[in-house]
């Protein structure tokens, strides 16, 4: 047992990994939604959703969040 695992056991977090992993992807989704349009080449116009990389990125991150929540 390492000092890290000991710490996790003592704080009751040893088996709670899925909340941290899902939380990371939740934060990523928030950040992706907040990135200004001009930073991602959409200052002039927003492309339709199927050509919008922001939409696809959010979908991928949401899928990962669900994966960790269900199987983590």
């Amino acid at each position: 047992m390492t000092v890290y695992s000991l710490l996790a056991s003592l704080t009751g977090l040893a088996g709670q990994g899925k909340w941290f992993f899902a939380g990371v992807f939740a934060l990523l989704i928030v950040w992706l939604l907040l990135v200004p349009r001009e930073r991602i080449g959409q200052a002039q116009r927003v492309p339709p959703w199927w050509r919008n990389v922001r939409v696809w990125a959010v979908l991928i991150a949401a899928t990962q969040m669900i994966v960790y929540l269900v199987w983590g």
């Binding site: 695992s5 996790a8 056991s9 990994g17 941290f20 992993f21 990125a57 991928i60």
Partner: protein, 525 residues
């Protein structure tokens, strides 16, 4: 458990399989040579003249990451640890790739750099650039040898090829189209390889799962094997005895090694620099992340199938009969003729796409960061093209020459490379993050951060084991490399911040286009 009459290591292809493999090899070679038309300058060779479409680059990113060693290694580790290994592509890839897509890649693209050390040189100074170029050059040369050896190991099992014959075939084919066609040939042959790889890996999973009674049959069989309680867990408890407790995976892999690899690995990011616009650079990374949602399962599930079907023959992982690299070839025995040809083609695809990416990037890095700035600043573009092609041949030959030495001690050397990466990845990520996100980070801060990060990683490795190098290459790559990556990153950040606070930063105009908050004036198409 399944009983087959086929002894391990004697798998042979039918004539249909051989025909398919030969067709694949010749097809890739023809495609690569055809794409070599119009290569006239170093920019064409190294960046494909900035003409690459996002969908080809996205697929190429996937197979540049997944090579022969990963296919074999992930099947082994899937057998040994189970689904936890998918984290290397989930939190270790998808998370950093999405951040890179929206934060780093468009800015690196706009900066117009050929290599990551070139960006570090512009953002910090020549010393940082040269040191990272040397570190990457050494790493890539060793990596080429590892790729040759991992390919030869499996070709020996599948095709009965001798070691040197295997090395020769891969070197000649990859050498021909990479030397002539450069990055363009690399990316488009990678696109074909990605499709073949996905089809091949899917077929292994489908035929394997049918053999063991589907997913429920797989779970039931593995449940009967002692020591496999966590094989279907995506995250292992923090007090797990394996090398992958979730805090180490999150901090070491998710926050340091993954981002450093997907943002700072020249062999990965170079193809993105060759896209037509920064929007296409971003889209290529998002496509890569989408493919990575399913790809890791296709590589880890064969290990679980091997555990369910062949545990009696292979034995317990790390037991007396355990031999690294045997799980995947054993599982392939379940495939019928014809299908096996496609899967072997997929394996060849993994070998060649991995090898072409590293050799092209190693040559780019040497020309851009060492030859041009240090040896021949006045070199013309045509001279760079000539030197670049020569270096591709040299790297392929050098990797081949080193490969037999690696072959003799493959397991420990592969682990040594993981350890080697953990030595500089933390520092690299710290410098990229702080350099790109803050204009207050100074050149001397960057240099100090690099010294602190690399130095602390070396000290931590030495602290872990006193028999470091010459004894027998017995390097324990278990939990330590993830934690070393994390703490060296922390040390590099601390060193960079501390020295930056007491030294003078570059003025804002000097940093325009190099820092996120100071975008370049130029707008791309």
């Amino acid at each position: 458990m399944l009983e087959t009459s086929e002894p391990m290591g004697s798998l042979r292809l039918s004539s249909v399989d051989v025909a398919m493999v030969l067709a694949y090899l010749l097809g890739i070679l023809a495609l690569g040579m055809w794409l070599s038309r119009g290569i006239k300058t170093g920019r064409d060779l190294f960046l494909a003249g900035k003409s690459l479409p996002w969908w080809a680059v996205g697929a190429s990113l996937v197979v540049s990451d997944i090579g022969a060693k990963d296919m074999v290694g992930l099947a082994d580790d899937g057998y040994r640890y189970g689904l936890v290994m998918t984290n290397f592509d989930f939190i270790g890839c998808i998370f950093p790739v999405l951040i890179a897509a929206f934060l780093f890649m468009p800015y690196l693209w706009l900066a117009g750099v050929y290599t990551i050390p070139e960006y570090l040189g512009r953002r910090y100074n020549q010393a940082v650039r040269t040191l990272f170029a040397i570190i990457w050059g050494v790493f890539m040369t060793g990596m080429l040898a590892v790729i040759y050896v991992s390919a030869a190991n499996v070709f020996e099992h599948l095709l009965g090829w001798e070691f040197w014959f295997s090395v020769l075939v891969t070197a000649v084919i990859v050498g021909l189209y990479t030397t002539m066609g450069g990055l363009k040939a690399v990316v488009f042959t990678d696109l074909v390889s990605c499709i073949v790889l996905i089809v091949g890996a899917s077929l292994v999973c489908i035929f394997g799962l049918v053999e063991v009674g589907g997913w429920s049959g797989l779970q039931a069989r593995i449940a009967e094997i002692p020591g496999t309680e966590n094989h279907f867990e995506l995250l292992l408890p923090a007090d797990s005895d394996t090398p992958y407790p979730w805090p180490a995976v999150l901090l070491g892999l998710g926050f340091v090694l993954g981002p450093a690899y997907w943002i700072g690995n020249q062999a990965i990011v170079q193809r993105t620099f060759g896209t037509r616009s920064q929007n296409e650079a971003r889209a290529s990374y998002v496509l890569c992340a989408a493919i990575k949602l399913v790809f890791p399962l296709l590589l880890v599930i064969p290990g679980l199938i091997g555990l369910a079907a062949f545990h009696d023959r292979i034995g317990p992982a790390d037991g007396p009969g355990w031999e690294g690299g045997q799980v995947l070839p054993t599982v392939l025995q379940l495939l019928p003729p014809g299908v096996l040809g496609i899967v072997v083609g997929a394996f060849l695809a993994g070998v060649m796409s991995n090898l072409d990416s590293y050799v092209n990037s190693a040559a780019t890095l040497c020309v851009t960061d060492l030859y041009q700035p240090l040896i021949r600043p006045q070199a013309s573009d045509r001279e760079s093209l000539f030197v670049g092609r020569g270096l591709i041949v040299l790297f392929l030959a050098g990797g081949a020459a080193m490969s037999y030495r690696v072959y003799e001690s493959f397991d420990s050397v592969y682990e040594a490379f993981q350890t080697f990466m953990s030595i500089f990845q933390g520092a690299l990520l710290a410098l990229l993050l702080l350099g790109m996100l803050s204009s207050r980070t100074t050149q001397w801060g960057g240099l100090a951060g690099m010294v602190c990060g690399v130095g602390s990683a070396v000290v931590m490795h030495l602290w872990h084991r006193m028999d470091f190098l010459p004894a027998s290459w017995q390097i324990d790559a278990g939990i330590s490399f993830l934690w070393v990556a994390w703490w060296s990153f922390v040390a590099a950040v601390a060193g960079t911040v501390a020295v930056s606070l007491v030294t003078r930063p570059f003025d804002k105009e000097r940093l325009r286009g190099l820092v996120y908050w100071l975008p370049a004036e130029e707008a791309d198409a």
